[in-house]
C-alpha cells in the first residue's frame, strides 16, 4: 500500500508540475477559464460507470428495451453530471488571497475571497493547500464568499504558497473538477519568539536616540510623516501651515524605557537562537509599551513603538540573512 501511495503522490506532483508549466504563473484576481479546469471521475463515478455498463450488457443480452432505456438514461445522466460539475468551477473568480504575518511554528490563516458572477449558485467549492484538508464553501448566485485555510509556518522568512487547489465534486459526487492556482501568495513568517534572557536595560542604548530629559509628563520625542490612522490632535498643524507636509508630533511616555536590541545583546549560541531571542524581546517590549529599536548588520531601525514598528522589526528579523531582505522595506502586514 505504501508503494501505491507513494506512486500516487509522485503522479499527483508531476501532474501539478505539468499544469504549472502549461498554465504559467497566475495573477489575482483570477477567473477560472475552461482550459485550466481538469476533470476526472471519482471512485463513485467509476463505480457508477461500471454499473451502467453492466446494465447495458444485461439489457442488450435480454434484448430488453426498457432496461436499455434505463441504461442510456443513466449514462446521459452521468454525462450531464460531468457538465454540471465542470460548470461549478467554470467562471469562478478568486479575487484575493491574504495572510497576516505569523510566527514560525504557529498556525495562521490564509483568507481567500471568491466571487460567483453566474446566475446559478455554486455549491461545495473546496479549496486546499498542497497536502492539506479542503475547506468547503457555497456561493450564492452573484455572491461573494470567504474561506480561511489554516496555514502552518515552519521556518522564518517568506513562505511562498505556490499552489492552491480549487476543486468540486458537485452535484452528485461522480466527477471531480479541479484546478491549480499558481498565484504568488507570500506569507511573512517571523522567527519563533524564544529565549529567556531579560530585555536589555537602558544602559545599552547609544545616547543619540535617547530622548532627553526623562521624567515628568509626556515629552517631546520628534516628528514623523503622517500615516493613516493618526489622531488629528497629534498633527503638527503649525508646521502644516508653513506648507510643510503633514507631520505628526510624537511624545515619549514618561518613564517608559528605551531599548536598543541587537544581535550582540542577544547572547545565544547560534544566529537562529539570537534572532529568536530578539523576536521574544520585541514582542515583550511592544507588549510592555516600551520604546525599542533594532540594530542588525546593515540595518538600523530607530527606536519607536506601535504595530507598524513591531512589524518592521520582526520582518527585519524574518528576512535576516536571506536574499529576500531587499524587499524588506516594502512589506506591510
Amino acid at each position: 500500500m505504501a508503494v501505491v501511495a507513494k506512486l500516487r503522490e509522485r503522479l499527483r506532483n508531476s501532474a501539478a508540475e505539468w499544469a504549472r508549466r502549461r498554465q504559467g504563473a497566475d495573477i489575482l484576481p483570477l477567473t477560472l477559464a475552461r482550459r485550466r479546469l481538469y476533470i476526472l471521475p471519482t471512485r463513485a463515478g467509476m463505480a457508477f460507470g461500471a454499473l451502467v455498463l453492466t446494465m447495458l450488457i444485461a439489457a442488450l443480452n435480454y434484448a430488453n428495451s426498457l432496461a436499455l432505456l434505463l441504461a442510456f438514461l443513466l449514462a446521459g445522466f452521468a454525462l450531464v453530471a460531468m457538465h454540471e460539475c465542470h460548470r461549478n468551477l467554470l467562471g469562478l473568480s478568486l479575487l484575493e488571497a491574504a495572510a497576516p504575518p505569523l510566527f514560525a511554528g504557529s498556525t495562521g490563516t490564509l483568507r481567500l475571497t471568491l466571487r460567483n458572477a453566474s446566475r446559478l449558485a455554486r455549491y461545495r467549492v473546496e479549496i486546499a493547500l498542497p497536502d492539506e484538508r479542503e475547506a468547503p464553501l457555497d456561493l450564492t448566485s452573484g455572491g461573494r464568499g470567504e474561506v480561511e485555510l489554516s496555514l502552518r509556518a515552519h521556518k522564518r522568512g517568506l513562505q511562498r504558497i505556490d499552489r492552491l487547489r480549487i476543486s468540486s465534486s458537485h452535484p452528485f459526487g461522480l466527477f471531480r473538477v479541479w484546478t491549480w492556482v499558481h498565484a504568488s501568495i507570500v506569507v511573512i513568517v517571523y522567527p519563533r519568539p524564544a529565549g529567556s534572557l531579560p530585555l536589555p536595560s537602558d544602559s545599552g542604548i547609544s545616547a543619540g536616540s535617547r530622548p532627553r530629559g526623562a521624567g515628568g509628563a509626556d515629552e517631546w520625542f520628534g516628528l514623523r510623516p503622517f500615516r493613516d490612522g493618526d489622531s488629528p490632535r497629534q498633527v503638527a498643524w503649525k508646521a502644516y501651515a508653513r506648507e510643510a507636509p503633514l507631520l505628526v508630533k510624537e511624545y515619549s511616555t514618561a518613564g517608559s524605557p528605551l531599548r536598543l536590541l541587537s544581535l550582540e545583546a542577544a547572547r545565544q549560541p547560534d544566529i537562529e537562537s539570537r534572532l529568536a531571542q530578539l523576536a521574544r524581546w520585541i514582542v515583550d517590549a511592544e507588549a510592555g509599551g516600551d520604546l525599542y529599536g533594532l540594530e542588525l548588520p546593515g540595518a538600523l531601525i530607530p527606536a519607536h513603538r506601535g504595530p507598524d514598528h513591531r512589524h518592521r522589526c520582526l520582518m527585519a528579523l524574518a528576512l535576516y540573512g536571506s536574499a529576500d531582505s531587499a524587499v524588506s522595506a516594502a512589506g506591510t502586514p
Partner: protein
C-alpha cells in the same frame, strides 16, 4: 460495535434518503417475490431507521453475517436455486437491506444506492409494462437525488472543517430531475441507434412463473373460482376484416392426456405433416403477444404454418417456441377457421386421443356408450352429446361448486354448473368414451376491436376451452360445448345477462361507457408502447435506418448515426449548461456603457477595473484633452443615469438619448506624438 455511535444531525439526512430509496426499490418488486422477502427487507430497513434515531441498537458484525447466511438459505429453500431473475432479485433485495444495517460511511451509502439502481434494472427485466414506467422513472429520480444528498454528506471524517449547508432538498431534487431531463434527448436516439445484437450473449434462464391465464393442465374439478384478469393477453391486426366474433377462437395448448381429473398436454410435439384444405378465405394477421413465460405462441384457430424459426408447428396445430415468451413479441401468421384434412388420422394419434383412464367416471362412460349406440354415425353422436348438454339443465357459472373423485360424473349428473373447462372436459370425455378421437383445446375466445388503433384486443378474461373431434370425412372439427349451454359466451357484450357469469370489473365496464372508452384508449397506448418501444429490436433498427436513407443498412451505420447524435447532444448540453453559468446580461444602460467603454478602449485608454465612470472621465481627459468635450459629458450622463436621482423625463427616454449619443460618438485616432507609454 453493538452500541450505536452518536450520529450528528447533519449525517441523518443522507441515511434517510438511502433508506427510502432502498424501501421503494423493494416495493417495486413486491408483486414479484414472495411476500416474506419484501416484508423482511422492509423490516431490516425499519431496524436501520430505528438505529438511526437511537430507538434500537444496530446489530454487530456476527449477527449481520449470521442473518445474511440465514436469509441466503431461506431464499434457496424458497426457490431451490439462486439463479434466475426472481431468486436473484430476492437475494439482491435482502442483501441491500442487510448492507443498509452496516451503512455508516459515504462509500456504504453509494453502494446501497447502486443496489437500488440494480433492483430498478431487475424490475425492468421483469416487466416492461407501460403502467410501471412512471414508477420506474420516479425511482430513478429518487436514486439520482440520493446520490446528490450523499455527495453532500459530511462523510466519516469528523475532523473536517464545518460544512456549508449545501443545496436544500428541493434544490437537490430539482438538480437530479433537470439532469435526468437533459439525459432524455440522449437516451432516445441512443435507444434508436445504439447497435443492437441479433441474438443473445448467453441463454436466457426462464426464472419467472407463468402469468398467463393459460396453463398446460386443466383440472375442472379443483377450480371453484376462475380469476378473470382484465389484462391484455395479445393484440391482433388483421390485413383485411377480422373474423366474426363467433369465429374468434385462438388456439393455445392442446391437451391430450386425461387421468380422470386432470387434462395434460402430453409429450406430443410431433411436427405437422398433414395437408390441409382451407374451406374459407384464410386470414392474414400480425399478432402482438404479451410475455407469458410459456412456450406457446397463440394463433387464430388453425394456423397454416410456423411464423418463424425456433417455433415448431405441431400436428395438433400448436405453435411451440424453443424459448419461453419472456418479452412481448410479434409475428405474422395465416389461419383458417374451417379446414378439411386431406390425410387420414394416424393409428398412434387415434390411440392417444381415444385414451381414457380405467374405471373412472363410469356413469359418463355408460351414457356415452348408450348415446353412441343410438346414433348412427360419429356426427350424430356429437349432435346427441350436444343435445344432452343443451337439454340437461346446465348452467354457466364462473364460480361452480367443487367436484368429487369422479369429476366428470359429478358435473354431468349432479352439479350441472360450470364454465368452459367443465364443458370441454366432459364433452371430450364423452366423445372418447364413445370411441371418437377428441382433444381439449385451450386458448381464448373473443377479441374486441379497438376503435383507436384498429386492433383486436384479447384479454386474459377471454380464456376459453373447447373441444376438437375427428370426423372421418372432415378431419379435426371444432366443437364448443359451452356455446351450446351459454350461447352468450360467444358475445362478451351480453355476458351480464348471466348473474353468476360475469366478474365485477366487467360489470363495471358495461355500466360505465366512458370507462370502457378510457380502457380502449389505454389499450391502444399500451399497444403502441409494446410494439414501438418494448418490441424495438435489431430488425426494427435496420428498418429505421433504411427509412433514413441508408441502403442495405448494417450495424456500422447504426454506429455512425449513434456517434453523430452523441456529439450533437454533448454540444447541446454543454451550451445549455454554459448558458446558465454565464453572468446575467447587463441592462440597456449597461450595454450602452460597455459599448462606450469599448469605443474609448480603442483610443489606447481602456477602463481599468477600479475606474468608476467619473474617474474614467478624469483619466481620459488627462491623457486626451482633445476628447474631453465629447467624452466627459457622456460619462457624466451615465453616472447620473445610473447613480443619480430620477429625473423629470421618463427613464427609458433618458436611456435612449444616452444610447444615441454613444452611437454618434466618433473618436479619432490619438495624435502620434502623444502616445502613451
Amino acid at each position: 460495535m453493538s452500541a450505536p455511535h452518536p450520529v450528528p444531525h447533519t449525517s441523518r439526512l443522507p441515511l434517510l434518503w438511502v433508506c427510502s430509496v432502498s424501501a421503494t426499490a423493494l416495493v417495486l418488486h413486491a408483486f414479484e417475490v414472495p411476500a416474506w422477502i419484501t416484508l423482511t427487507g422492509l423490516g431490516l430497513i425499519a431496524w436501520r431507521l430505528a438505529g438511526l434515531l437511537g430507538a434500537m441498537p444496530l446489530p454487530g458484525g456476527i449477527v449481520r453475517v449470521t442473518l445474511g447466511l440465514a436469509l441466503v438459505a431461506a431464499v434457496f429453500a424458497q426457490f431451490h436455486t439462486l439463479n434466475g431473475l426472481v431468486p436473484g432479485t430476492a437475494m439482491l433485495m435482502l442483501m441491500v437491506a442487510i448492507k443498509l444495517l452496516e451503512t455508516r460511511s459515504q462509500r456504504d451509502q453509494y453502494v446501497v444506492i447502486g443496489g437500488a439502481l440494480f433492483l430498478l434494472l431487475a424490475a425492468c427485466l421483469y416487466t416492461q409494462a407501460l403502467v410501471w414506467v412512471p414508477l420506474y422513472g420516479l425511482q430513478a429520480l429518487l436514486c439520482c437525488a440520493a446520490l446528490a444528498v450523499v455527495a453532500y454528506a459530511p462523510g466519516s471524517d469528523a475532523r473536517r472543517s464545518p460544512l456549508p449547508p449545501g443545496p436544500g432538498t428541493r434544490t437537490v431534487i430539482a438538480l437530479a430531475g433537470r439532469s435526468l431531463l437533459f439525459a432524455i434527448p440522449l437516451a432516445i436516439p441512443l435507444f434508436l441507434f445504439f447497435p443492437r445484437l441479433p441474438g443473445h450473449f448467453w441463454a436466457l434462464t426462464s426464472g419467472a412463473e407463468a402469468v398467463s391465464g393459460l396453463g398446460d393442465t386443466l383440472t375442472p374439478g379443483s377450480i371453484t373460482s376462475l380469476t378473470t384478469s382484465y389484462a391484455v393477453a395479445f393484440r391482433v391486426r388483421f390485413d383485411g376484416s377480422p373474423p366474426p366474433p363467433v369465429e374468434r377462437y385462438w388456439r393455445g395448448p392442446v391437451l391430450h392426456e386425461f387421468d380422470g381429473t386432470t387434462w395434460k398436454a402430453g409429450r406430443y410435439t410431433t411436427p405437422n405433416a398433414q395437408r390441409l384444405d382451407c374451406l374459407s378465405a384464410p386470414y392474414r394477421y400480425h399478432l402482438y403477444l404479451q410475455p407469458t413465460f410459456r412456450h406457446w405462441w397463440l394463433a387464430l384457430d388453425t394456423v397454416m404454418g410456423s411464423p418463424g424459426p425456433g417455433v415448431r408447428y405441431t400436428y395438433d396445430y400448436q405453435l411451440i417456441a424453443d424459448q419461453p415468451v419472456s418479452q412481448s413479441l410479434s409475428y405474422d401468421a395465416t389461419s383458417c377457421t374451417h379446414v378439411h384434412s386431406l390425410v387420414p388420422l394416424s393409428f398412434a394419434a387415434r390411440l392417444d386421443d381415444t385414451q381414457l383412464p380405467q374405471g373412472q367416471n363410469p356413469r359418463t362412460l355408460a351414457l356415452a356408450l348408450q348415446l353412441r349406440r343410438r346414433a348412427g354415425s360419429d356426427i350424430a353422436f356429437v349432435q346427441a352429446a350436444l343435445a344432452f348438454l343443451r337439454g340437461g339443465g346446465f348452467t354457466y357459472s364462473l364460480t361452480p361448486p367443487p367436484l368429487g373423485p369422479d369429476p366428470v360424473d359429478d358435473f354431468l349428473f349432479d352439479t350441472r354448473t360450470g364454465f368452459c373447462g367443465h364443458y370441454a372436459s366432459a364433452f371430450v370425455d364423452m366423445m372418447r368414451a364413445g370411441g371418437v378421437p377428441a382433444r381439449v383445446v385451450t386458448g381464448y375466445l373473443g377479441g374486441e376491436l379497438n376503435p383507436y388503433d384498429g386492433m383486436l384486443t384479447v384479454r386474459q378474461s377471454d380464456a376459453h376451452a373447447w373441444a376438437e373431434v375427428w370426423l372421418a370425412d372432415y378431419g379435426w372439427t371444432r366443437v364448443d360445448p359451452t356455446a351450446v349451454v351459454a350461447p352468450e359466451r360467444l358475445y362478451r357484450g351480453i355476458l351480464d345477462l348471466l348473474p353468476g357469469g360475469v366478474s365485477d370489473p366487467e360489470r363495471l365496464l358495461h355500466t360505465l361507457p366512458w370507462l370502457n372508452t378510457a380502457l380502449q384508449r389505454w389499450d391502444a397506448l399500451n399497444g403502441w408502447w409494446n410494439v414501438r418501444v418494448v418490441g424495438f429490436n435489431y430488425r426494427s433498427q435496420l428498418n429505421l435506418l433504411s427509412a433514413l436513407g441508408f441502403h442495405s443498412p448494417e450495424l456500422r451505420d447504426a454506429g455512425w448515426v449513434f456517434a453523430a447524435t452523441l456529439l450533437a447532444w454533448l454540444a447541446w448540453v454543454s451550451w445549455q449548461i454554459g448558458r446558465q453559468q454565464r453572468a446575467p446580461p447587463p441592462d440597456r444602460l449597461g450595454q450602452a456603457y460597455s459599448r462606450l467603454c469599448r469605443k474609448l478602449a480603442r483610443t489606447g485608454l481602456p477602463r481599468a477595473p477600479h475606474h468608476g465612470p467619473l474617474a474614467y472621465a478624469q483619466f481620459i481627459v488627462r491623457y486626451r484633452p482633445d476628447l474631453s468635450p465629447h467624452v466627459a459629458p457622456l460619462l457624466a450622463q451615465y453616472a447620473s443615469l445610473r447613480f443619480g436621482p430620477p429625473s423629470d423625463s421618463t427613464p427609458t427616454q433618458d436611456v435612449r438619448s444616452f444610447e444615441r449619443a454613444v452611437s454618434r460618438l466618433s473618436i479619432r485616432r490619438p495624435p502620434a506624438k502623444r502616445r502613451l507609454g
